[in-house]
């Protein structure tokens, strides 16, 4: 940060020259970005080993702002970022009005209902929102909004990435354990649908019903719990809030790999991604935030970078102009995942590879080579055009 400030000061003469050489560029075009966060009370989980960082998401926007400002310095584009954080149960509409007063380009963190409540406000009509937190399918389908783009992949895209890997490995006999929360059931349904999409079936399922602290008895309890599952290649876990999954791994009755929200996991981003220049991004993020970069950080990073790319190429900060450019054929975003990222024109979802990882390494990056697509192989992940009921986009 200090280094960057120093750079800014010393670059000043260079900017002047660049601007003189390119008079068509307006000097000091302000680009205001807001980050609107609906805070949540996270439910208690069995282990406190991996607390959820307080700056999850926003730290990604901050690092992208630093990256984008370097280009902006040379072009006379001045970016700013405002955080508006609404306490659990607080007045989200008031927070949204505050964010919209600061900026018409807004990253929004919340669940699907909260995001729709914000994008549907009368004050939000001319603004452009970026969903960085919800993987809900309805936001990309029947409940899509013209003023809402998505930089976090939908849950279905992540599930599809995992299923491509399982199918490619011919690990097709699947069993699943699902937690008791509504979000557990939703993710289980997504995995089920994705298995069907790729011609597989989850043959057996069990509900996680333990309500005791298992931490000292996992080796006794979990084998018994998984003993009556029919033989399978892989045991799927649907535990998106990270409650019990960690106690299933290596405690199963059968010696089988675990996948889903535990073990082998599909992620938008993970610290184990190091190819495609990713090490540089990981290093910058760790220097800035003092922790590893996660998927929501990546989604926020991608949103600010997408704004920066569109501003750089159009010379405009107008949300409508930027939206048109982002959805157009010339927009490409370098996402450090080996392919140029772009937005799907039918629902505003950022088209991107999905990393299938474990704690120690990248297993592979989906889409896998065997999964072809007539338009773009990345569209084999998530809601493809015919599957999306979204009508808010011109297509």
């Amino acid at each position: 940060m200090r280094k960057l400030c120093a750079a800014a000061v010393r670059l000043a003469p260079a900017i002047a020259v660049a601007l003189a050489a390119a008079p068509s560029l307006a000097a000091d075009l302000p680009i205001a970005i807001a980050y609107l966060r609906a805070e949540v009370d996270h439910p208690p989980v069995l282990s406190n080993l991996d607390p959820i960082p307080e700056d999850l998401g926003f730290a990604g926007a901050e690092i992208a702002l630093e990256d984008t400002r370097t280009t902006g310095q040379f072009l006379g584009h001045a970016y700013s970022l405002t955080l508006v954080s609404v306490a659990p149960g607080g007045d989200l509409a008031a927070g949204a009005r505050e964010a919209l007063a600061a900026a018409q380009l807004v990253l929004v963190e919340g669940d699907a209902a909260q995001i729709l409540a914000v994008t549907d406000m009368p004050e939000a009509r001319g603004a452009l929102f970026f969903n960085v937190a919800s993987g809900a399918a309805n936001l990309r389908s029947a409940d899509c909004r013209a003023n809402l783009l998505h930089t976090l992949p939908e849950d279905a895209a992540r599930a599809d990435a995992l299923m491509q890997v399982l199918l490619d490995k011919q690990w097709t006999d699947l069993a699943m354990i699902t937690g008791p929360k509504p979000e557990d059931a939703a993710f289980a349904a997504t995995l089920r649908a994705s298995a069907t999409k790729f011609g597989m079936e989850i043959a057996a399922e069990k509900a996680w019903t333990f309500d005791t602290d298992l931490r000292e008895s996992t080796m006794q309890e979990v084998p018994r719990f998984t003993q009556d599952l029919p033989d399978h290649d892989v045991l799927l876990i649907a535990d998106p809030t990270d409650d019990f999954g960690r106690y299933v791994l290596h405690n199963t009755w059968s010696p089988r790999p675990v996948a889903g929200t535990e073990g082998m996991r599909p992620e938008a981003w993970a610290p184990v991604i190091e190819a495609w220049g990713a090490v540089q991004l990981q290093n910058r993020f760790e220097d800035h935030a003092g922790r590893n970069m996660r998927s929501r950080d990546y989604a926020a990073w991608a949103a600010v970078r997408a704004i920066g790319e569109a501003v750089t190429r159009t010379g405009s900060a107008d949300p409508a102009t930027l939206r048109t450019y982002m959805l157009g054929p010339d927009f490409t975003l370098d996402g450090f995942k080996g392919r140029a990222l772009s937005f799907r024109t039918w629902n505003g979802q950022l088209r991107q590879p999905i990393a299938v990882v474990n704690d120690r390494a990248l297993v592979t990056l989906a889409p896998l080579p065997a999964f072809l697509h007539q338009r773009n192989e990345m569209d084999s992940l998530g809601l493809d055009q015919p599957e999306s009921a979204c009508t808010e986009f011109a297509r």
Binding site: D67, Q280, E309, R339, A340
Partner: protein, 321 residues
């Protein structure tokens, strides 16, 4: 490892003495070695251990020194190519990735990828002459034939930064497409070419005005556009043809440098990155990062002759005639 270095220290001087054979030196990013390819036999004759994560590589004008960017050692290493011995490290700034040797044969201009600066090092006094703030993740480095201009491209800022070597100050910045990787000046036409890996293009600038003259795009039947990612490129001596490595599309494009039309594509190993010609320019050697090999291309017939297995993640390539 110990046994290997012992073997090397005993065997290398013996092997190197008669070896006046023409060679291609390839840096292996994930092996911390250089693989040396004999151009006559197209075989690897020896590995040479170097610092951590070697990437950029270039020889001094008389080939008595070889400079190697050892990125994770935060140093540019200077090696005696005869003995394979590291003579000394140059102060390079953090994480040197790629560099260019000024025509004065004395000053190295180094892109410090993690640090957003270009470092100018005097190889004789072994001191840093200047550090120039550039965009995020500088990588591509080009120097004009008269030595008056050095260009650094920055991968995240998506710009070419034009540096006046007399003052070591930036005098212009030009926008290029996403993730610029490599920059080269032409001698005859006074152009600057910059490849953009994610943008999928090569931009051609008039070096006199810094104005964009052309943008070259690529299209390979049966390969998704987003996998066509231009990285390294080289011109034939008459500058009529440019060979452009296209990364994970596993092809090298043959570009007519006068009309900017793509005349063909040559299949290579996986994730083709950088390249070097043989001394007579009849052969072209490309580094293929993912398959860990080097493709030998016959320049006249524009076809691949052979794949040569080298170390893990071959990155840079340089000719030692």
């Amino acid at each position: 490892m110990t046994r290997l270095s012992l073997w090397l220290s005993v065997a290398l001087p013996l092997m190197a003495t008669p070896a006046m054979a023409e060679e291609i030196w390839v840096t292996n990013e994930k092996d911390d070695t250089i693989s040396v390819i004999d151009v006559a036999t197209l075989e690897v004759t020896r590995p040479i251990p170097v610092g951590e994560r070697p990437r950029g590589i270039t020889f001094s004008k008389d080939f008595s020194r070889v400079y190697i960017c050892a990125s994770d050692s935060d140093a540019v290493q200077v090696m005696d190519p005869e003995s394979g011995e590291i003579l000394h490290d140059l102060p390079s700034g953090e994480d040197p990735e790629q560099f260019v040797l000024h025509p004065d044969d004395r000053h190295l201009y180094i892109a410090n990828e993690d640090d957003a600066v270009t470092t100018v090092v005097d190889t004789e006094t072994r001191t840093v002459v200047a550090q120039i703030n550039v965009g995020i993740e500088p990588e591509g480095m080009g120097v004009s034939p008269d030595g008056k201009i050095v260009v650094t491209t920055s991968e995240t800022t998506n710009m070419a930064h034009w540096i006046d070597t007399a003052t070591n100050k930036i005098f212009a910045n030009t926008l290029v497409d996403s993730r610029p990787r490599h920059a080269e000046f032409t001698k005859l036409t006074n152009e600057l070419w910059v490849s953009a890996e994610i943008g999928g293009t090569v931009s051609v600038f008039d070096a006199a005005t810094q104005g964009e003259k052309a943008k070259i795009r690529f299209e390979i039947p049966g390969v998704n556009a987003d996998l066509i990612q231009p990285v390294g490129f080289e011109f034939t001596p008459d500058e009529k043809i440019a060979f452009v490595a296209l990364g994970p599309s596993n092809h090298v494009a043959v570009v007519n440098a006068e009309t900017y039309a793509v005349e063909g594509y040559i299949l290579t190993g996986r994730r083709v990155w950088h390249m070097a010609f043989s001394a007579d320019h009849s052969l072209l050697f490309t580094t293929n990062g993912v398959s860990g090999d080097v493709t030998v291309i016959d320049v006249a017939s524009r076809s691949a002759l052979k794949s040569i297995k080298v170390g893990r993640f071959p990155w840079g390539a340089a000719l030692r005639p």
